[in-house]
């Protein structure tokens, strides 16, 4: 298999206003194959969101480079689409307009935008809510719009930045299964950032475990649980064992982070 996404020795150092510098990421090497579902987990401060923003092209790395399909990333592009953690939907646009936003920006004709947006509205279970505004929707529905908007531009790689972090536990479980079924339908390559270990194990083919301060790859865990998966899997001993294994890898850092108040 060829790597669709290749992260080559990426480091990121931020310089604060008081001239002190913070090393967010140190020499990250990663490659992700086409059609793979990969998650990155790590304690807060492990720079995982920073890495995602570098991959999306929103942030230039201090050193190293990112390649998508062999092309070096230097700005956001149509081959990648990001699903954001917080509300990043335009509050003055309807669901269908929000879903079609990326296509509209790309200058695609209106009828085509409508048709494509409708397809992804159907896929994400938003049918009937086309002309609602984001403030009229629940958190879970809003994240569906967020996912649909990213899928609508037909990216090669879907980047998800803790997409369900703001949802309550039950909604999160439902959204996880829906994300799985959408992934199975669309066969996108997915890179998910999360702090929920069970979410990462449940969804992924591989889980990359990050260390904090500076963020670097600690280890990688292959998840060989059978697919298709449903929520029952979460009670399976093999599942619990994997979650536990990953938790032990980052437990010390999470505890340190809690003590620092980070």
């Amino acid at each position: 298999m060829t790597a669709l996404l290749k992260i080559d020795n990426v480091s990121q150092t931020f310089v604060r206003n008081d001239k002190s510098s913070v090393e967010a990421l140190r020499s990250i090497d990663l490659s992700i194959n086409e059609g793979e579902f990969v998650s990155i987990v790590g304690a807060s401060g492990s720079g995982k969101s920073t890495l995602l923003r570098i991959i999306d092209g929103l942030l230039a790395p201090s050193s190293g480079s990112v390649f998508v399909d062999g092309t070096k990333v230097d700005r956001p592009g149509p081959d990648r689409a990001m699903v954001f953690q917080q509300d990043s939907l335009l509050p003055w646009k309807t669901v269908i307009e929000n879903v079609g936003y990326g296509l509209t920006l790309a200058g695609r004709p209106k009828a085509e935008v409508q048709a494509i947006a409708q397809r992804f509205i159907d896929m994400t279970g938003l049918r009937g809510f086309e002309s609602h505004y984001p403030h009229q929707l629940s958190g879970g529905m809003r994240q569906r719009v967020n996912v649909a908007r990213a899928l609508a531009v037909d990216p090669k790689i879907l980047l998800l930045d803790e997409p369900f972090a703001a949802l309550d536990a039950q909604t999160r479980e439902i959204m996880q299964t829906e994300l799985l079924s959408i992934w199975q339908k669309s066969r996108k390559t997915v890179l998910l950032i999360t702090h929920q270990i069970d979410e990462a194990v449940f969804l992924s083919d591989r889980v990359i475990v990050f260390s904090a301060r500076p963020g670097c790859v600690k280890t990688e865990v292959a998840i060989d649980l059978p697919r298709p998966r449903d929520l029952d899997l979460k009670r399976h001993p093999a599942f619990i064992e994997q979650v536990d294994h990953i938790w032990k890898l980052i437990e010390a850092e999470v505890r340190a982070g809690v003590k620092q108040g980070a």
């Binding site: 999306d56 092209g57 929103l58 956001p76 149509p78 954001f84 917080q86 509050p91 936003y101 984001p134």
Partner: protein, 260 residues
Amino acid sequence: MRKVYDFLEQDTRAAAVTRILVSTGFVLILWQLLAMFVTNRLLLVPPAEVASALWKEFQQGSMAENAWATVTAVVTSFLVSIAIGIGIGLALASSRFLSLTGGPVLSALNSVPIIALAPLFIAWLGLGFASKFVLVLLVAVFPVVVTTEAGLRATDKPLIEAARSFNATPLQIFSTVTFPYALPFIVSGIRVAWARALVGIVVAEFFGSFAGFGFAIMSASQTFDTARVLGYVIVLGAMGLIGSVLFAALERYLAPWRLE
């Protein structure tokens, strides 16, 4: 009583109209009572006399004449100040240099009571349209400048980030994110600008003009015609109220998500 409160708190047109009627009625009653104690008609006249004075102005055609003079001047000047205000606000929000250097000048100008310069403007520009136009422009432009700049700078960072992530050009970010976000802010500035424009026009007309509400108020007070003075003040109040209600409605229409 509880039911009355529930009705008045509603966000419906009927409730809004009732609120206005109730408060207007309250003011009229208070006024009437006061006029029964203050019997010197130079100081205060009861509502009915004011109404009949207004009616007379209508019949004689001086109301139309004054209204034409005031409304044309205030509306043109108000529209121009919106355009200029948005323009300056845009420039300040898009250029850090302009904001840092021009900002202090503008806030200094804004704290000068420009109204006090009215006699000077009349000396420069003469009696009539030009001096009114400039004075109204100067008082009305600042709220629009300030809210435009503030609104454009207030845009949620995640919205801009998302637009960038979808490869939006700077112009697209402006037209699809920053400007729509700022629009309700701008309208609230326009609402304030309208109230200030009305003050500006009246003062300008006090000092130098031969027609307009300000001129009519001045000439009526010089002949101790208190009923006419109060009549024109009420007309001006109504203009202010209508503007305020319209722009508040526009604000709600443009940003329904802010209410929830």
